[in-house]
């Protein structure tokens, strides 16, 4: 493919991984990973620990570079971009880190407004936007608190608020429900569904919990009820959520929920059982 063809193909996709290889020392972690995330699509990535799920998110952000292959994000080949150029692109992306990665010396407000403060946006405007986005994640009352004063689930919600405040085109979630109790996990999943159905943001979700992804694939956000609801049988509502499974550095499954439940591969059947 020429560069122009590449640009044409990747422009209509949020993220494209093209034969990506990555090794650390002698450990080959990714062995030719290829997949696409369409605009507006949510893709949940699964695999046992150490298969390189989080690495996919870091590669998409350009935080690390692959040994071979290409990663296209919003039409840009991040593998060929310099760090300076990547800072501009990253402003269109949002990342929710596994342990939230909130700045512990800043308040919730300063964390959520970090990008706006960096861009020198007036205080009044920043305050309004922070309250709006904290209301979205139902964390309005924590605005002046420090991350250390919040529970794990609350920190995760603040991290989501920080990621979505700039209305990014792509969201990257790294194990957003890891280590949380079932009720808090459902709250986080509901937030991701809300973000998907209200703003139609493309998303890559790394997870260990299949039930979270199935919930996302089988539920939609009801704006009138302000609540996540199961999709009734026979409904035309499209959740645009797919599944990707990694095994030993390779993609062994990439498809929708019905295809996953009907898969005949022994490893996949064992994984989803």
């Amino acid at each position: 493919m020429s560069d122009e063809d590449n640009l044409e193909v990747t422009r209509h996709r949020a993220i494209v991984f093209d034969d990506v290889h990555l090794a650390f020392d002698r450990n080959q972690v990714l062995r030719g990973v290829s997949f696409e995330l369409l605009r507006g699509e949510t893709k949940a990535i699964f695999g046992v620990a150490g298969t390189g799920k989080t690495l996919l998110l870091k590669l998409a952000l350009g935080l690390i570079k692959p040994d071979a292959g290409h990663v296209w994000v919003l039409g840009y080949d991040v593998t060929a971009m310099k760090e300076e150029e990547l800072f501009e692109l990253r402003r269109k992306l949002g990342m929710v880190f596994q342990e939230s990665a909130l700045f512990d010396s800043l308040t919730v407000k300063e964390n959520v407004a970090y990008r706006f403060i960096e861009e020198g946006i007036p205080e009044e405007e920043v305050h309004q936007k922070v309250l709006e986005v904290l209301r979205f994640v139902e964390m309005e009352e924590t605005v002046d608190m420090f991350p250390a004063e919040l529970s794990g689930g609350m920190r995760r919600r603040v991290a989501i608020a920080r990621a979505i405040i700039t209305e990014p085109e792509v969201l990257l979630y790294d194990s957003p429900t890891a280590g949380l109790d079932p009720i808090t996990s459902t709250t986080i999943v509901e937030l991701m569904v809300k973000q998907r159905d209200v703003f139609h943001t493309s998303a890559l979700v790394v997870s260990h919990r299949l039930q979270d992804a199935f919930t996302m694939a089988t539920h939609h956000f009801d704006r009138e009820q302000n609540h996540m609801e199961p999709i009734p049988p026979g409904s035309a509502i499209e959740t645009n959520t797919s599944f990707l499974i990694l095994r030993e550095g390779k993609v062994i499954f990439d498809g929708r929920a019905p295809e996953l439940t009907g898969a005949r591969d022994e490893y996949i059947r064992e994984y989803i059982s």
Partner: protein
């Protein structure tokens, strides 16, 4: 535990030198590139400069005092006790002021930088900063390096002055020397090249201790244990580097100034 081969150890060392060199070069060149974080520069100047003042004051004062005490024993044997001020002035301004201030500030701030940045690294805050479109070198490293260079310069001057004051105190109270004579010989002993040498050194020492502290912080791995390791390594490496570089700078400056 797997034992690394000598080749791998050598490669690791070369890589560390390469990474440090890149960081050190960027910490200076990025100071001229936007965005510039003036608020962070000022905050670091306050933390490093004002925060280090008590230890620098105490170190400088008592170093000058003990220098006067020690040299007086030797000088009195030759009947040259009146030269005490001269000895204290030359030793403090040319050597002890810059080096001891550098070492004290390294102990306090190089470790502080390594632990602060190391904690941010292991909790993914550095990655989060990059993901949010901020360059950690411009935001975290440049303010620390520039603030240390500027503040160590002034801290060294304060240390020199307090060293001379400590020497004066000992000379008048314990050695019963005339204070005016002490300050007069101290003043006359100092030439342009002595003062220049004493003022150029802290610029290098400030750069070394801050860039080494930031390097160890940003290359931290392995959780809280890794943060502890980085902190120790930063203090050891910056202190040793200050002493080694001091020798070479002294040699070069003697060649150019004298």
């Amino acid at each position: 535990m797997e034992i690394a081969s000598p080749t791998e150890i050598a490669k690791g060392m070369v890589l560390a030198v390469q990474e440090y060199s890149v960081l050190a070069a960027r910490s200076l060149s990025d100071a001229f590139r936007r965005p510039r974080y003036f608020a962070d520069w000022m905050q670091q100047a306050d933390t490093i400069g004002v925060g280090s003042l008590p230890i620098v004051v105490l170190t400088g004062y008592f170093t000058g005092a003990v220098l006067a005490l020690q040299t007086s024993a030797t000088l009195s044997r030759f009947g040259s006790l009146s030269l005490t001020g001269q000895v204290v002035a030359l030793s403090m301004v040319r050597e002890l002021g810059p080096v001891l201030t550098g070492l004290m500030v390294a102990g306090r701030n190089s470790s502080g930088m390594a632990s602060e940045l190391g904690s941010m690294k292991v909790t993914e805050q550095i990655d989060a900063m990059r993901a949010l479109g901020t360059d950690p070198i411009k935001k975290l490293v440049v303010p620390r390096v520039l603030a240390t260079i500027v503040m160590l310069f002034f801290l060294t001057i304060i240390s020199d002055l307090l060293g001379l004051t400590g020497g004066s105190f000992v000379s008048s109270l314990l050695l019963h020397l005339d204070t005016t004579q002490y300050w007069s010989t101290a003043w006359q002993a100092l030439h342009f090249e002595d003062v220049m040498m004493g003022l150029i050194k802290p610029l290098f020492f400030g750069f070394i201790l801050s860039s080494v502290g930031c390097y160890y912080g940003l290359s931290t791995r392995g959780g809280t244990q890794g943060v502890g390791r980085s902190t120790t390594q930063a203090v050891v490496a910056s202190s040793v580097l200050i002493l080694v570089v001091d020798f070479f700078i002294t040699r070069v400056l003697m060649f150019f100034l004298e």
